[in-house]
Every structure is written in structure tokens, then in C-alpha cells.
Symmetry: C2
Subunit: 191 residues, 2 copies
Amino acid sequence: MELKEKQRKILDVAVDLFKEKGYMGSSVRDLATKLNIKAASLYAHIRSKEEILEWICFGIAQEFFDELQEVKSTDIAPKDKLNLFLDKHLSVVLQNRDVTHIYSNEWRHLDERLPEFIELRKNYQEEVEQLISEIYHAQNWELKSPTFTTRFILHTLNNSYFWFKRNTESTSEITDEIREKLLYGLLGNQK
Amino acid sequence: MELKEKQRKILDVAVDLFKEKGYMGSSVRDLATKLNIKAASLYAHIRSKEEILEWICFGIAQEFFDELQEVKSTDIAPKDKLNLFLDKHLSVVLQNRDVTHIYSNEWRHLDERLPEFIELRKNYQEEVEQLISEIYHAQNWELKSPTFTTRFILHTLNNSYFWFKRNTESTSEITDEIREKLLYGLLGNQK
DNA sequence: CCTACCGATCGGTAGG
DNA sequence: CCTACCGATCGGTAGG
């Protein structure tokens, strides 16, 4: 999935558009207009509208995978590993807010490659769950429901951009606040 | 917004459909087929496709408002009030999972009543923020960013149904786990 | 509730 | 990259 320069441009504009109107609410004519070309001309660069969604969903999924492997292969204390995962994942999310949003909310409109995507996602969640389980076990923390906890973590991280007005906080401020809420909750560090 | 019996039936089937395919991915023909009637016959009961989305979004928004007023007018200790709000809000969410999902993710496809909806939502968030601020102040808890915290709470509650396989846990088990994670985070009650 | 039908728009192709 | 065009489908109306 190496994109040519023009395809990159189409991808970027499509991300803007899909974020604003949703995948099903965006027409190829909308997209073409934003690119100052005619709809038919798009098809010199794309196979289909769906292909663009594939670029978005599989591209960011790969980034999440790469980042997870990096965390897994780093040899540090378990608690540091948890923090490293949170920071790395958040960093990818915050650098790709719109893409993450589309990945989270529009993936079901994939067609041809939908089964492949679901499988990829399942594998990813299982790998994260394994990481979390290892960390909890090494720390002797109680982990009642690994699957629930993993989904809670991923969902919280993937939607964290929601809680901020864009660009009023720095990335490190955002990361700190989210890490704190996720680890200690509303009351964990008070009272 | 009192619905007739047939409209209630249309609403219920539409919720199923919109949840599965999204509002923009669902056609009035899909909906009519599920109801075993022809598409044109729908218009004896609805003004437009958008009206159904209005029923969904404004209906559940009203439930959230009512529940908040109830919490606000209950005279109990601040910390109990926080728990009461979490429980009541979660109860509405868990009894209306699909509707909450559509409310959270499809509201932007409202057209005529979009400004009204945005205003309603803003008011609701401000009222929740006010409640949270009062509780924190009464407890002498530190509240760095009320808006961030409010969004974190609402977003976590509104998406909590995501973390469960449907129907394998009881509502009270789910509520307990979510309240715990929200209040104390991953580590707040460990170590 | 139906049949019949509307204009608009959809994703996409042919051919240059 | 364009013009010209395709069949399919869209939300919705007229009239019964």
C-alpha cells in the first residue's frame, strides 16, 4: 500500500470530507470538487470509493500494530511498559485524530476487505489484551476482566481527541490529563 | 412528540436499521422492506426520513435531561449525588443502547432541527458540568478542567455498552464495573 | 396501504 | 485530466 503523491493528496482531502460528512454522506463528486477536478477523473487514481476507506482504515491499523510491537519489544519494567503503551498509542491517535475517528466509526462500510479488517482488529485487541495481562500479572495487580479492561483502554485512548477543543492544549498536556484519568479515574488521586 | 402506535413500530425498526448500517447507509426502502410495506406507504406515517432521526435524537436527549433534573433535585450528600448521577445515566444508556449509539454518532445528519439539537446538547453538557463542579467543590476535590472532566464522564458513560458482549453480563454487574473504572481508573484501587 | 412515477444523485465506465 | 453517459438507487409525491 504505497501511495503515489496524487493518491496521498486524495487521501488527505477525503479524510477531511469523511470526518465532516461521514463516508456514506460523502459523494465522489464532493471529493472531486474539493480537489478541483471532475468526479470521473478520480478514477485514474483510485479503483473505487471504497479503496480510499481501505487506505484510511488499514493504514492507521498498521501504525497501531507497529507501535504495539515496539512497546512489546522494549525491555523495561512492567509499569513503565504500561505508560509507554499509553503514551505511544496516544501519540499516534493525536497525530491522526481525523483518521482515527474514521477508523473507529466508518470501518463497517468497508466491503471487499471487511472480513480482513475485522480479523486484523481482533488480532490487535488480543495482542493488547496479552500485553495488559502480562503487565498486571507482573505487578500482582488484580485483573478481573481482561477483555473489558482492554476495550476500556483502547476506547478511551481512541476517543480522547473528543474531549478537547482542538489546539488549545499542547499534546503533552492532553497526554498527561488522559493518562491520569485512565490510570486513577475521577477520584483515584484525591480525598 | 407523542408517537402513534405505528410510528413507534417504525421507530423501533429504524433504530435496528440505523444501528446496523448507519443513517446515511439506510434507505427508506430498506426500512419499508423490514416493515413489510412499500416505501411510499411510509409517508402516511412520517414527514421525512429525517423525522425518524429527530424522534431518536430528541427523544433520548429528553430522557437524559429528565434524569439529570431528578438527580439535581434529590437532596443527598454530594458524593452520593455523583454515584446517583452515574447510575441513573448508565441506566438510561443501558436500556437504550442502540438509541444512545445513534444519538451519539448520527446526530450530525439532522438537518432542519440540527441547530436546535446542538443547542440542547450544549445546555445539557453545561448542566452536567455545573453538577460536577458543585459536587467537587462540596467535597473539596480538585477539579482542574471541568469541561474536560464532564466530556470524559459523558463519553465514557455513553459508550460503555461497547465494552461488553451483549447480554452476558447483568446490568448491575456492568454498572459496577464501569463506575469503578470511571471513579478509580485502572490502578486507583490497587497496589 | 398500494401502483406509478418524479427529478436528483449515486458510483463508475468509455473513449479520448 | 476531460466530456458524455450508464444503470441503479435515492427521498419523496400524486392519486387512489
